[in-house]
């Protein structure tokens, strides 16, 4: 083997070692942070910490928690109430004869409109999946670049992202409508999906989390000759799973609950929240069905959040704004 080649190999080995070291360092840091969190979770001795205090806090939180959970509980029991129980005085806090009629009723009513309800369910799932998929890809790439690269305009863009956190979809909905009307997008899937993709919240959370990853790791990969694209997906993202999970969850919630009712008027394009509103407009006769649909709508985001709760908390720890 020629000396030159050997040299090259040496350098490559060294770089690989550096790379591994950087990864190791990151892992160690993560572990340390984790331990720190674990420690702060434990019940160490603290000033003014006594079981009396803890019980007091627990009772206070329970009372407030009941206030928070009561309306959700109400909608769950109402989804199971037969019609006659809606008119009992005084109103009961439990169901006497639980029934699944409301759910059946909901599908029947929804199926009797112009398109089958399954179409609306498909729309909701389609919009949510596509919007979440592209948001995660686009926002992750952009977040990586904005957090780790220096190029003309990066500071400005970072500031714009922070300010735009103020202008979430509800505020700019009308203005978005005008823009989309000009672009001829009204009443298409893209009117439902495209505005959901550039979520500055997702980009912001991702950026904050990526900026915790040591520069050395990225530099090492650069020396290895990896392109930015490869660094982003091969090195940064695999080491940043909690943040990925978090923006998936937030985006899923946003897309699932998004009410694009003004953007589409074709029945075949409407999502579940829009249909639910139409059913709710029928008033008292459809009460049960409305609560049934509310429960159905509520379950997916709740289930996903419960499953990924700890990863979300880890990401939110870096959510702070330092200007």
């Amino acid at each position: 083997m020629s000396k030159k080649n050997k040299n090259k190999l040496d350098i490559a080995a060294q770089q690989a070692a550096e790379n591994a070291a950087a990864l190791e360092a990151l892992k160690k840091r993560r572990e340390k942070e984790h331990r720190k969190m674990e420690r702060s979770k434990g019940t160490n001795k603290r000033v003014g910490k006594s079981w009396k205090n803890d019980v007091g806090i627990f009772l206070l939180l329970t009372v407030l928690g009941l206030f928070m959970i009561f309306p959700i509980y109400l909608s769950v029991i109402n989804s199971m109430k037969p019609v006659n129980e809606f008119f009992i005085f005084p109103p009961k806090l439990y169901v006497m004869q639980p029934t699944t009629d409301n759910f059946r009723d909901l599908f029947k009513v929804a199926n009797n409109s112009w398109v089958p309800f399954s179409r609306n369910i498909f729309n909701s799932i389609f919009v949510t999946v596509v919007a979440t998929f592209f948001e995660v890809i686009f926002a992750s790439m952009a977040a990586f670049i904005l957090a780790k690269c220096r190029f003309p305009g990066v500071k400005f863009l970072n500031q714009v992202i922070v300010i735009s956190l103020l202008f979430q979809s509800t505020v700019i909905y009308i203005m978005q409508y005008i823009v989309m009307a000009k672009l001829g997008m009204i009443n298409t899937y893209s009117a439902l999906i495209l505005p959901l993709i550039p979520s500055s919240m997702g980009l912001f959370l991702m950026r904050q989390s990526i900026s915790q990853i040591p520069d050395a790791m990225i530099e090492a990969a650069k020396v290895d000759g990896a392109g930015l694209m490869k660094i982003c997906w091969g090195i940064v993202m695999p080491n940043n799973k909690p943040a990925l999970m978090t923006i998936i969850i937030f985006q899923f919630q946003a897309a699932w609950n998004a009410n694009g009712g003004s953007m589409v008027y074709d029945e075949a394009l409407k999502t579940i929240p829009v249909v639910v509103q139409q059913i709710a407009a029928a008033g008292i006769a459809r009460q049960g069905a409305v609560y049934a649909s509310a429960v159905i709508l509520m379950i997916p985001p709740l289930a996903i959040f419960i499953a990924a709760q700890s990863q979300v908390m880890e990401t939110m720890a870096h959510a702070g704004m330092k200007d």
Binding site: L74, A142, Y291, A294, P301, F305
Partner: protein
Amino acid sequence: MAYKSAEEILLPNERKMSAKEKREYTLHEMKRNKICYLMIAPFMLLFLVFTVIPIIMSLPMGFCDFDMAHFPRWVGLQNFYTLFIEDDVFLGSIRTTLIFALFTGPLSYALSFLLAWLINELHPVLKTAFTLIFYAPSMAGNIYFVWQLIFSGDSYGYLNSVLLDLSIITTPIQWLTDANYLLICVIIVQLWISMGAGFLALRAGFQGIDKSMYEAGAIEGISNRWQELIHITLPSMGPQLMFAAVMQIVSSFTVDIVGRMLCGFPSTDYKAHTIMTHAFDYGWVRYEMGYASAVCFVLFIAMLVCNNVISRILGKYMD
């Protein structure tokens, strides 16, 4: 065109770059980082079309008379004149929005901070459970219409039935249509759904504070939890506080749909009529998009100003 070698330009403090050199250097840097621009392009393009342009466009549209069907007609300051001088409903809506921005916003901010703090004092299992309970309403999205059952104006309403039972009232109160009560009801529901991303950030912030800080504090003579909160916890949570503040501004300036759903639209005496509701009214109901844009523009400015004030205050506190 040949530009000077990188060293020559990059040498700091040697001499000031001329405007032309600066431009060339920037151009050079832009070319060198082409891939960066390519990678942010998909997000930024959509961001430009669906966020930046709508915000910026609200100003020129505000100067127009526009109904979506005809070409926008320039009317100058007419919309803004009508808005602030003649439109009594709008002036009322400013009042309602200010109630939410100056009263409900800080209240729910303090509440989410307090709750995050209290939850953090508990056992890990309870922590998870309570976080979920308090975050659930904001996650459940469109479910606020259940409050209609609670605030229902007849005796089937839960609140009325309890109050009647306890003989506190003798006739049912029309919570959602009585001008005296409806704003309070909307405020309660708004507080109920306000424990969102900001609350989560605060919860995580508390969790991330180094335990040893407290031990050091105890040695330094901190004697109760209140002092601990003021001297140790708060100063190390500045960034999270800022993030939560932004989330709070967003939610308190955009109160709209809860009021419309619960109190009807328009609500009695326009009591639950916020600036957002006004924009909804002119945008979606009357299709006077020019006027609606003017309303939106005023709202954007108000939010930006509020954001600046809060970041100043928090910035001072953090240093």
